[in-house]
């Protein structure tokens, strides 16, 4: 077994050197934005501009989605190359998964597996080259975890779908360029056989986006009033949306994995080493050390489950239950870590610090612990998926979808 991220085979060495120099160059002058090209709901202009710029630079090389064919905006490289890119980016706390402000990481594989050739050639390059921001728009007031219970309708009229309905708790502070939308294409058909996915411009007439202030930042309600969407934007076929969802959900539910560490725990250790309390750093306090030990161990376990899933994905051999397991475990760990931060910092944990990226801001951790327990389905849906994949009480085990 080999866990090394930076040890590569001799034929990959030149690429590793190229990539290392490239990332260093791309980060020059922006080193203080370490972590900031990660997912964010509290972005500032500097971060946002940097993040989009980095995505464009990576995209121009085909490195945002390196295993895709060049005609789809990729570089036609093997999975080993993607591992090198991710490993080099992780040195700066970055990951291809969230490198820029979009959910293209989930949408691209869905279109790749379920789109027509024309759709792939038209829709993929703007995403894979990092030129646009995409929101995934699934949740409705009556359908959170029960994601198939879609009431937003897209009814075919001639060459268009007419979309009506409301989505909620989606996106972030800045508006999207495109929308990846789960709709009901036939209200008369049975559950799971009545769904469709639209990949559509966000500026079509009839779309209204309204900010929702929430514990962990800005989310949005999106209203669709007689929005006329050209039929070519339907991906995966009418009433076949549940099939497409398998690819989507596997990625949203942790199946993608990652090789980037957890900046929060890293920074918690820095804080405990660098600050003084009654003349001593907190890390010298046995009680604090016990709390830190738990945080460290659990963050290691999360990192390794992430790495395991990443390796399985790149080998096109998805871990049977690893995706939802990681998501469940990671979110329960974040919840515990939120409390651990307060146990160590006291009142200071409740003071926001906008100078650091939210991923490393302690106050944000306190918000994100409970605030991010539900995104993409609750802990309970995670456990349900794990149980199906393990085959508990079932003759057969549900299979994880291939996502690369």
């Amino acid at each position: 077994m080999d866990f090394a991220l930076d040890e590569v085979s001799p034929e990959l060495k030149p690429f590793q050197h190229e990539m290392r120099a490239w990332v260093k160059d791309a980060m020059r002058g922006s080193e203080h934005l370490r972590w900031s090209a990660n997912w964010s709901t509290r972005e500032n202009d500097e971060e946002y501009t940097f993040r989009r710029g980095l995505a464009e630079k990576l995209g121009a090389k085909g490195w945002l989605f390196p295993t895709l064919l060049p005609e789809y905006g990729g570089a036609g490289l093997t999975a080993e190359y993607q591992a090198v890119i991710d490993a080099e980016l992780s040195e700066y706390g970055l990951a291809l998964d969230h490198i820029f402000y979009t959910l293209a990481r989930i949408v691209v594989p869905c279109i790749l597996y379920h789109g027509t050739e024309d759709q792939k050639r038209e829709f993929l390059p703007p995403m894979t080259r990092g030129l646009i921001s995409v929101w995934q728009v699934l949740t409705e007031p009556q359908s959170g975890s029960d994601v198939a219970n879609v009431k937003t309708t897209a009814i075919r009229q001639g060459d268009e779908y007419v979309v009506n309905g409301q989505k909620i708790m989606v996106g972030h502070k800045l508006p999207p360029d495109w929308i990846w939308l789960l709709v009901c294409t036939d209200p008369g058909r049975p559950r799971h056989e009545n769904l469709g996915w639209l990949y559509m411009p966000a500026n079509l007439p009839g779309i209204t986006i309204q900010h929702l202030p929430m514990l962990m930042g800005i989310k949005n309600a999106v209203f669709f009033d007689d929005v006329r969407v050209p039929a070519k934007y339907l991906v995966g076929g009418e009433n076949n949306g549940w099939e497409v969802s398998h690819t989507h959900m596997e990625l949203e539910h942790g199946g993608g994995g990652s090789v980037t560490g957890d900046p929060a725990v890293e920074r918690l250790f820095e804080y405990c080493q660098q600050t003084k309390r009654a003349g001593k750093p907190p890390i010298a306090d046995p009680h604090v050390r016990d709390i830190l030990a738990e945080a460290l161990i659990e963050s290691h376990a999360v990192r390794l489950m992430n790495q395991r899933n990443y390796w399985h994905r790149l080998n096109r051999d998805p871990h049977p239950y690893g995706g939802a397991q990681l998501r469940y475990y990671q979110r329960t760990v974040r919840l515990r870590n939120a409390q651990r931060v307060q146990q160590i910092l006291g009142y200071d944990a409740l003071v926001p610090n906008y100078d650091v990226h939210e991923f490393a801001d302690f106050e944000y951790l306190l918000r994100a612990g409970p605030g991010q327990l539900h995104g993409g389905g609750t802990l309970d849906t995670d456990r349900l998926i794990v149980a199906r994949r393990m085959g508990l009480g079932r003759a057969t085990k549900e299979k994880a979808a291939v996502t690369i």
Binding site: D2, A301, R383
Partner: protein, 373 residues
């Protein structure tokens, strides 16, 4: 990055899995644990004949010259039973103690015999039940002019009953020393403890006279020897716990499919599913932290803190996995002849063996984040 085993390791894994399935039937394991000595002589002989004792010992000294990863692959298999024989204490830890602390004569004399299963040695360090560390060694190493005299009681000696040699920790003004004491020395007596301590014995030393040559290494070097040996031995022990967790997981998943209650398989109940989710989290945390630690160790990366981490996580994981399995198996899982019972006993005993999770977490922190004096 590659999470596959090598071809040789895969073959080793399969051959041990075959052996475990063929020879180490759950009822045979359970009977061993009920017989109070937790020990199956036939299986131990087979392990010796198969070359599974002294796997980390160099080939010229009778071993297999295996890497820690090779040993871990084997012990993941042994842990699945668990194999009711002192394959770890006598086959890994004791040989490593000799390798790290012994003179050339001691190595030549003892290691080939340990690899053949003729010398069955086990470490006897802590005098009392609580705590682990050099300060827990209270037995005095009294100078008798031409040698030493040992008097005292080692209350909890893992595999103390099958052993025919004890590597005894005793204290002199130089610190903790290790002494090789044959079981048949006058003054040595062994009491089986039974029940949850089926694999643990109390070993009593009454005016046991030992020659100077019985010392392993120099006086006061004992704890350093233990620490060096544990760097390799602990990850292997962790792997056996991972194998145990995997076996419990596999059999418990099957049980959720077969056991019908309220007209359906119990695995359909979400509360039962919750137990399995938590069980798997503990199992996988133990698995990956153990194997990453072994990779670090063998890649020459700083590993000390992670070895302690692995021991803490694997011990806690095994304990918790058994507890979650109990929640699923309910009544039948507590019958003394149920396969889960051997794991129950092993998980409780191995929680303490060579330091409990609280100890190893503190050592992990001290290794990774030392406190400035």
């Amino acid at each position: 990055m590659d999470f596959n085993l090598t071809d040789e390791q895969q073959m080793l894994k399969e051959s041990i899995a075959d052996f475990m399935e063929r020879e180490v039937k759950p009822d045979r394991v359970a009977r061993c644990y009920q017989r109070e000595d937790g020990y199956d002589r036939g299986l131990f002989r087979t392990a010796a004949q198969s070359g599974w004792l002294g796997m980390p010992v160099p080939e010229e000294l009778g071993g297999a010259g295996g890497s820690v990863m090779d040993c871990a692959v084997a012990f993941e298999g042994f842990g699945s039973g668990p194999l009711p024989a002192p394959v770890f204490s006598a086959g890994v830890l004791s040989p490593l103690l000799i390798l790290h602390g012994g003179s050339n004569d001691q190595k030549r004399q003892l290691l080939p015999a340990m690899c053949k299963g003729e010398v069955i040695a086990t470490l006897a360090v802590s005098d009392s039940g609580m705590g682990w560390g050099p300060e827990m060694v209270e037995m005095e190493l009294a100078d008798s002019g031409d040698g030493f005299v040992l008097s005292g009681v080692k209350q909890f000696v893992q595999d103390g009953h099958p052993a025919n040699m004890y590597i005894v920790g005793a204290r002199s003004r130089e610190g903790v020393s290790l002494v090789l004491v044959e079981r048949d020395r006058p003054g040595v007596s062994v009491r089986q403890r039974g029940e949850l301590l089926a694999t643990v014995a109390e070993v009593r030393f009454e005016n046991v006279r030992m020659p100077r040559a019985a010392l392993l290494g120099s006086p006061g070097s004992g704890w350093d020897t233990i620490e060096s040996a544990l760097d390799q031995a602990l990850p292997i022990l962790c792997a056996s716990k991972v194998g145990a967790c995997q076996q419990i997981f596999d059999t418990t998943v099957e049980y959720t499919r077969e056991r019908i209650a309220f007209g359906q398989p119990i695995g359909r109940f979400q509360r039962v599913q919750d137990h399995m989710v938590e069980l798997a989290d503990h199992m996988d945390a133990a698995r990956w932290i153990t194997y990453e630690t072994i990779w670090k160790l063998e890649s020459g990366l700083p590993a000390k803190g992670f070895i302690h981490e692995a021991k803490a996580v694997a011990s806690e994981g095994y304990y918790q996995v058994v507890d979650y399995a109990h929640k699923v198996w309910a009544g039948p899982g507590t019958a003394l002849d149920h396969p889960l019972m051997a794991h129950h006993i092993a998980s409780r005993v191995l929680y303490q063996y060579l330091g409990d999770p609280a100890y190893h977490k503190r050592r992990m922190m001290d290794a990774l984040y030392p406190v400035e004096a």
